[in-house]
Symmetry: C2
């Protein structure tokens, strides 16, 4: 009988950050695809679009006018999923029907005045403006009494539900800690209590030794395809120093973070020769006033494309009812990404 | 200050089956949509398609010929994500890099020889053939030594990654219990040990009393939008009798199950006047030889459409990094579905 080979045979991998598993089917990547194809968008966008509600000087749905901003611009989401003044209350029937009101603030961050750019097209010095703003927003929102968690994220590309191509991200800040960061809090705290070191610091050390899943690194950060990646070209950016949140980043680290975001997103655009869609998000410690020593700052990238600019991975039936499943291995994805890093 | 109202104010709801939460933003359903639109498929399909690899008498990719089947037909997936003969083994580096080989069997089930039907178009008596086959497969696959969990599911519609419109579902049977049913095992077992009753039996009783989330019911089953629904028109079919798995269903219950599947899927098709896409799946007790007294048979339906045949809910940035979020309330969704049940 053949010996078990990660590159050949079906297996499960464990995600120590969430405590959950992913099914990997390396043999299946040869499967033909006859299903839905996404549209390839080959539009060229103008630097300024008079009909875009995010471009400088334009008027938004609620009648407000954007300033003539020259780097970044932040404002409260006109259709936020959360509200700061939601009335407090709960609706509870026994153990099984339970709802609690939730307060929060939703903001939109324009990354650049230029309608035609994405993070991948921007210079690291301009991304640095975005990082500075993230830091400021984390401090400001996280400093509010009723905000205990600040989720910074970006949906890029219409395939990821993004309704405007102007480069922008969002912040949803709220009273409770959402499900995913709550899992990561539990797992990282448990590891830290057991080992006295950060889970991601130990993990990053293993990855830097093995090298095979590293995509790109600089003095302060590494970008890699995690061993437990779910999405075909999923990546995680981990800080080399163990700290809890963006508020603790030094100037040099902010430069390094800007540079690695630039490098990873530009690499993504080379995979299929198109602007690569993804959702990304920063995971960091809750702003509930506790120290969270086990927390280790990182940023996830979840890109859906699988085989081409038009064929994505569907997380459907089995994945919804069972657990995520992938075909191409994380090692193969990392190898491809690594080969594309310095082709600028 | 206003009093908290489930129909008006942002809140979180608890899912007792998984122990996780969903964010509900009722005020947000008026948000305009300028993002990606799905294509509306208005194709009429022939009863028999010579190029379909699932139609009777046609030849599949691997050269095998389908029989001239007249009701249902099951075969091993030619590109299965799992393999029965995968070599045993593991790859482990400390606590943080962990993989285990996984054995399993993937099957495809054709629901009907007719290429142009869906479950929604079929008669309950014909769906009964499908239910009988699910029962047989659960017993056969679950009876194998190395199979400890049997996931029966359907991806319907190209938007759900389904690559062939011929009515069919799948079964992935495997050695370990996947993440979602493992959560449900833990939650149901804990509830049963504490209360001596099944979680879903108690929940169904509350829902039948309140009535507002019920879509349709018969003597043996009820279909409802769960209080903690994630997808806009998500539904769950729960058996009125507490039993663990499809092997324990009586003939009458199998008739009732067929009838309610027919009724729910046909209702879905009336929501936007199109064949309604979804992923569905049966959750039932693992086949690991234990009794699992807390387990209560049920079937989930996760349909992605939100506002029209072409506008779906995107579970992206915040949802991937935080937790699921929805706009329309489960109560509003149930009201609409209920009003469409008997319009045949
Ligand atoms: O097996 P199929 O129908 O080819 O593929 C579909 O269902 C599978 C199981 O949910 C998914 O893993 C695939 O991403 C999806 O496209
Ligand atoms: O806020 P947007 O960009 O209009 O909307 C997008 O991102 C949100 C946050 O991930 C999601 O809830 C929406 O489904 C998605 O379309």
């Amino acid at each position: 009988m053949a010996t078990f080979d990660l590159a050949e045979h079906p297996h499960r991998r464990y995600n120590p950050l969430t405590g959950e598993w992913v099914l990997v089917s390396p043999h299946r990547s040869k499967r033909p695809w006859q299903g839905q194809q996404e549209e390839e968008s080959c539009e060229t966008r103008p630097e300024y679009d008079p009909s875009c509600y995010l471009c400088p000087t334009n008027t938004r749905a609620n009648g407000e006018q954007n300033p003539a901003y020259t780097s970044t611009y932040v404002f409260d989401n006109d259709f936020g999923a959360l509200q700061a003044d939601a009335p407090q209350g709960a609706y509870v029937v026994g153990d099984l029907i339970r709802a609690e009101s939730e307060r929060g603030i939703c903001r939109v961050i324009c990354f650049s005045p230029r309608h035609d750019l994405t993070l991948a097209d921007m210079e690291a010095v301009d991304i640095r403006q975005v990082v500075d703003l993230w830091q400021k927003e984390y401090a400001e929102l996280g400093g509010l009494d009723f905000i205990n968690y600040v989720q910074i994220f970006e949906n890029k590309g219409s395939i990821m539900g993004c309704s405007n191509p102007h480069p922008h991200g969002q912040i949803w800040a709220q009273s409770t800690v959402p499900v995913e960061p709550a899992k990561e809090t539990a797992q990282q705290t448990q590891y830290f209590e057991k080992h006295g070191r950060s889970l991601l610091a130990d993990y990053l050390q293993l990855e830097l030794e093995q090298g095979e899943r590293i995509v790109v690194q600089n003095e302060h950060f590494a970008a890699l395809v995690p061993f437990w990646a779910v999405w075909p070209f999923e990546a995680i950016i981990i800080s080399k120093r163990h700290f809890q949140h963006i508020g603790q980043m030094s100037d040099k680290e902010k430069d390094g973070f800007s540079q690695i975001i630039q490098s990873l997103t530009a690499t993504y655009d080379r995979v299929f020769g198109v602007s690569f869609p993804y959702s990304s998000g920063i995971h960091q410690s809750p702003t509930d006033g506790q120290e969270h020593l086990g927390w280790h700052f990182h940023m996830h990238f979840y890109p859906p494309l699988l085989r081409s600019a038009t064929v994505k991975k569907f997380m459907v039936g089995y994945e919804m009812m069972g657990n995520p499943q992938r075909d191409i291995t994380p090692e193969a994805a990392a190898r491809l990404l690594r080969s594309l890093v310095n082709l600028a």
